[in-house]
Amino acid sequence: MGFLRVLIRNLLAGPSTDPFPFGETFTPKALRGRVVYDASRCTSCRACEQVCIGGAIRFDNTPEGRRFLLWHNTCTFCGLCAFYCPQDAITMTTDWHLSHAQEDKFKMVEHGLIPAAKCVACGADYVAVAPTAKAFAGYAPSAEEVESLRQCCPRCRRKQAAEIAAAKTKGLPS
């Protein structure tokens, strides 16, 4: 007769149903939901694009700069992009209210643009470097040196970094 005990206990305990969609529901703190991209932190290393298992991330070169595109309808919400990003430019929010009508299918995207810049040294077009980039760490440049390196295209940047490094190591024995 154990089942009668269970039934009476169930009747007395009441429903254990989550109130959604008629009320609020809980959202876990670490839920992997909608992806958010911060272009000002991105160095376009493209690790996220390489590691994305649904092929949801795409980088395109356009005249305005390098464009980032993430389509949520192929995103598996695995979080590998956020895990591997060295700059924390890609993060996952806890927003799971993603269901949409068929018309909005191609609008479930996260856009971003890393602006194009012109090199101060040679005038070539290049993709701007993120202000928070943790690069250039090897030979401890000062803040003005970092700023001047940031405003060069990659070719000029290499030349200028070599000059700065040479100047710093001048006093060392050869």
């Binding site: 169930n10 009747l11 429903p15």
Partner: protein, 317 residues
């Protein structure tokens, strides 16, 4: 009031027709809600079966190519009509006694067999293999549970018959006999028959543990697989009406004492609740029996109990 008009009203409005359909769907809604609460869920609103029926009337009725079209489309109205008529045949104590011209216990038993037959024929008329499986299962189950109920009806007839051993076939007479001599619920000779009727109830209503013909997860709704739209709605109405008929029959056979004032209807509705509650609790707490297990079960205990009741009734008259 002319007799034919009274007959028509009793079939169409009260106690058949509109009243029985409303009562049946209301009982089904209560059953679903109580079953949900017993499982710690919220459950559908109480009027959900009404919404289901209204929605089914708006859907398209599809007829499969492999089916026998005239039979396929004719079966649901036949089933629903038989139950409409049967609802007008069962007396409601204190309120309604059926016109003897409509029929007696034999006609009621015949009409109670019709929904099962209709389901069986629907299974084979739909031309699908799942329907055929549903057909054979329904046939086995009907063979199993019809014998005990016949014996229960015969026992009630003998017990309420005249002193010289006549058997009465009129449900009204059975009801009057109990109102003067005490309900059969308190009669020890009828207790095995009561247990047999309690076993017959879930089988006839098609609820767990005996809902094998319409098993959703096994044969994809069996005979009802190919039905949709208004035809399916008529089948749902038929099962709701059958529930009312069988529950009313239970009250009439075992406990029809009622006050003589208009509150007898309320008393009758209250009497239906324990039976419906028992069916719900059984539905929620058990698993489904295989059709051969159900067959063997019915030919063991309910048959033995009903036979014991008949023997006792014959010996003690």
């Amino acid at each position: 009031m002319p007799e034919s008009l009274a007959l028509l009203l009793s079939v169409a409005i009260f106690p058949g027709g509109v009243f029985a359909l409303g009562l049946g769907l209301g009982l089904k809604g209560i059953d679903r809600r109580v079953a949900a609460r017993l499982q710690r869920r919220v459950g559908p609103p109480l009027l959900q079966p009404f919404f289901d029926l209204i929605k089914l009337s708006r859907k398209q009725t599809t007829v499969p190519d492999t089916s026998c079209r005239p039979l396929f489309l004719a079966l649901p109205p036949v089933g629903a009509a038989s139950m409409l008529l049967a609802a007008a045949l069962v007396p409601i104590p204190g309120i309604y006694a059926p016109d003897p011209m409509l029929g007696d216990m034999l006609v009621l038993f015949y009409l109670l067999v019709v929904p099962g037959m209709v389901l069986m024929l629907a299974g084979s008329a739909s031309g699908s293999p799942f329907g055929a499986i549903g057909f054979s299962r329904e046939m086995m189950l009907m063979l199993a549970y019809e014998t005990p109920i016949v014996l229960v009806l015969v026992t009630a007839g003998i017990r309420a018959g005249g002193g010289d051993g006549a058997i009465t076939l009129s449900l009204t007479e059975i009801m009057h006999h109990q109102q003067t001599h005490g309900a059969f619920l308190f009669d020890p000779v009828m207790w095995p028959a009561l247990l047999a009727f309690a076993a017959f109830l879930p089988a006839n209503l098609g609820t767990i543990p005996f809902d094998t013909p319409e098993a959703e997860t096994e044969v994809l709704d069996g005979p009802l697989l190919e039905y949709s739209g208004a035809a399916l709605g008529l089948f749902k109405a038929m099962s709701a009406l059958k529930a009312v008929v069988v529950l009313n029959l239970g009250v009439c056979l075992f406990f029809p004492t009622a006050p003589a004032n208009p509150s007898a209807l309320l008393v009758h509705l209250v009497k239906l609740l324990p039976m419906a509650a028992g069916v719900t609790v059984l539905r929620v707490s058990m698993g489904r029996m295989r059709v051969d297990q159900a067959f063997r079960f019915f030919f063991k205990w309910p048959l033995a109990l009903a036979a014991a009741s008949v023997t006792a009734a014959i010996l003690s008259r």
